[in-house]
């Protein structure tokens, strides 16, 4: 399980005086489903482009499947399944023709493999439909099919779920796990923080810097210096105002029909209740809960 699949060492890319990727170092091991998370413009795609040898780093180096990202780009590209943000499909070609085209590009001669891929991704019924006529969720699936036709041991998926609704996103992650269960390693970028929960490891990018990389549960334990609470109190907006003014509160916000607060470690449930009661708010219920990856991001971003 510890076989090294991707390594980035101090990878850095500048565009003029803008540093898109700033000394990024990490490793991906065989079997990982790595989520590379960050908002738009945080350097995720630039990292991938350097790893694939599409962009020369200004500093640092990378290896993919043991090949050097600058020297051995041909070897890398023939062994990686890459899906770009804009699914590179031919709208005028059918699903099967698109797949057959990519099979040709990758030198796959075996037609059985095409049908095998269609079946694996539940696309068989759509093989005769032109890609341009498919809804976005199915286009995304077809783009994945074209990326795996040559049975790559590593998948690099750049924002595969962008613009796709939550239900289709969940279904897409299920597919990634179908492939992971067959031994494929996956490197997936996303700006949806909630998708971090689907990953075995998560890297958090912001403004070109990799803030952390670890398992979701380890990040929740290590990154957050405080504690997270569900607070049920009425009237809610007034309770929120009180919460914000209490000592020891790092952040407070809405959570549907209740409130959510992040406090420092010194605050207990009883303290919170007592302090709210002190403001004239009786009977508030306070329960400690797990932080989310968004909490982790905000803590890592230091704001």
């Amino acid at each position: 399980m510890d076989e090294l699949i991707v390594e980035a060492r101090d990878l850095t890319k500048r565009f003029g005086d803008f540093t898109a990727v700033d000394h990024v170092t990490f490793q991906v091991h065989r079997g990982d489903v790595l989520g590379y998370l960050g908002p738009n413009g945080s350097g995720k795609t630039t990292t991938i482009r350097m790893l694939l040898g599409l962009l020369l780093p200004d500093e640092g180096s990378g290896t993919v499947l043991g090949y050097d990202s600058v020297q051995d780009t041909e070897a890398i590209r023939s062994r990686v399944g890459y899906m770009s943000q804009k699914f590179a499909l031919y709208d005028e070609l059918t699903a099967l023709e698109n797949l057959s085209f990519y099979a040709g590009v990758y030198g796959v001669r075996d037609d059985d493999r095409l049908f095998q891929v269609l079946e694996l991704l539940n696309l068989t019924a759509l093989e005769g439909i032109r890609a341009g006529e498919l809804p976005i969720g199915w286009r995304q699936r077809l783009a994945l099919a074209t990326a795996i036709v040559h049975e790559p041991p590593l998948l690099i998926l750049d924002e595969p779920t962008s613009g796709v609704d939550p239900i289709a996103r969940r279904a897409f992650w299920d597919l990634i796990y179908v492939l992971a269960d067959q031994g494929v390693t996956a490197f997936v970028t996303t700006h949806y923080m909630d998708e971090a929960e689907y990953c075995s490891r998560v890297g958090v990018m912001r403004r070109g810097r990799l803030l952390a990389m670890d398992t979701p549960s380890a990040l929740k334990q290590s990154a957050l210096s405080g504690m997270v609470w569900d607070v049920h109190a009425e009237p809610m907006l007034e309770a929120l105002e009180m919460l914000e003014s209490l000592p020891g509160i790092a952040r407070a916000g809405l959570a549907g029909d209740h409130l959510r607060a992040i406090t420092d470690r010194t605050v207990s449930a009883r303290d919170l209740q007592a302090r709210l009661a002190g403001c004239g708010l009786q009977g508030a219920s306070v329960v400690q809960i797990e932080p989310t990856l968004e909490d982790v991001f905000l803590a890592l971003a230091g704001e």
Partner: protein
């Protein structure tokens, strides 16, 4: 503040909004979620008067949108998914443009502009050209433009897609301040965590509400029906779980599996999985009921709708 009765709108054969009724109070934030094409954006466009309904009624603060269109529209601030700014104009000039479109008198727009720019945190960027703003700042300017005429109702179409969580956090602080001023907010969002912050959530499919309610009410429907399973080897665990007659669905979540099970079957399923996994030399590190998420409920609804 917003009252919608049996709203319908078709595009050719497609029923984009199909008998939708909604009611949103002042100071309330309501999230519309649902698959692409479920009718979220069409609903918002109908509500802001950009589209005419085929039938149904929309009342905004008691005013009939179809009959007293101008008065009703004056109450609305709308932030579309793709917000257009004039890249060559400064922040202030952009805002002035939107103020004039909204019919704000000249003597009012200047003080209001500085007030609203301070509110969204763009005060010090008033003279910067809009084309040079970051994504998060553009979004704030969009919000400022939607708010320039003191709307009582705010319609937001996926306002935080792809923006920095720090910006999202600030955005939510702004929304809370608006709720305190009794503004009613209707937001469409692809983020379940964002939906779960709202007072109420409506899940839209084929132009109809499949379910609505407070997030905690909605997730309580699946209380005790989601199990977390952690152990090795993962493939074996998933196989055994998927084969169990009372497991409806097994999803991989990183190193965990989430199983959705038939109502009231938690004890039985846990016992059965425990012995089946042990019998095949697998090991269980953790097997317990966990709190369902909004997404679990929506998936369950979609699947039961398909099965019916």
């Amino acid at each position: 503040m917003i009252r919608v009765n049996d709203l319908r709108r078709s595009f050719g054969d497609l029923r984009a909004v199909d008998g939708l009724s909604l009611s949103i109070q002042k100071g309330e934030i309501y999230a519309l979620v649902g698959p692409d094409g479920a009718g979220k954006t069409t609903t918002l466009r109908l509500l802001c008067g950009a589209l005419q309904p085929d039938s149904g009624h929309i009342h905004l603060a008691g005013i009939d949108l179809q009959r007293q269109t101008e008065q009703a529209r004056a109450l609305i601030g709308y932030l579309p998914q793709r917000f257009s700014l004039y890249a060559e104009l400064t922040v202030l000039e952009n805002l002035r443009f939107f103020a004039e479109v909204r019919g704000l008198p000249a003597e009012e727009w200047h003080p209001r502009s500085s007030e609203i720019l301070d509110f969204v945190g763009l005060g010090e960027f008033a003279d910067r050209r809009a084309g040079l703003l970051s994504g998060g700042m553009k979004q704030k300017l969009g919000l400022a433009a939607a708010l320039v005429h003191h709307p009582k109702i705010l319609l937001l179409d996926e306002p935080t897609g792809g923006v920095d969580p720090v910006t999202r956090q600030n955005f939510w602080q702004l929304i809370i301040r608006l709720l305190r001023q009794d503004v009613a907010v209707l937001i469409s969002t692809p983020y379940m965590d964002e939906a779960s912050r709202c007072h109420r959530v409506g899940f839209l499919q084929y132009g109809r509400l499949l379910i609505e309610g407070a997030p905690s009410e909605i997730v309580s429907r699946l209380e005790g029906r989601v199990l977390e399973l952690v152990g090795t080897p993962r493939r074996l665990l998933k196989q055994i779980a998927s084969d169990d007659p009372q497991v409806q669905n097994a999803h991989s979540f990183g190193d965990r599996l989430h199983l959705r099970i038939a109502a009231g079957s938690a004890e039985t399923v846990m016992r059965r999985l425990g012995s089946a996994i042990a019998a095949q030399a697998g090991s269980i590190e953790r097997l317990r009921p966990v709190k369902p998420g909004l997404e679990d409920v929506f998936l369950d609804l979609l699947e039961s709708a398909h099965a019916a």
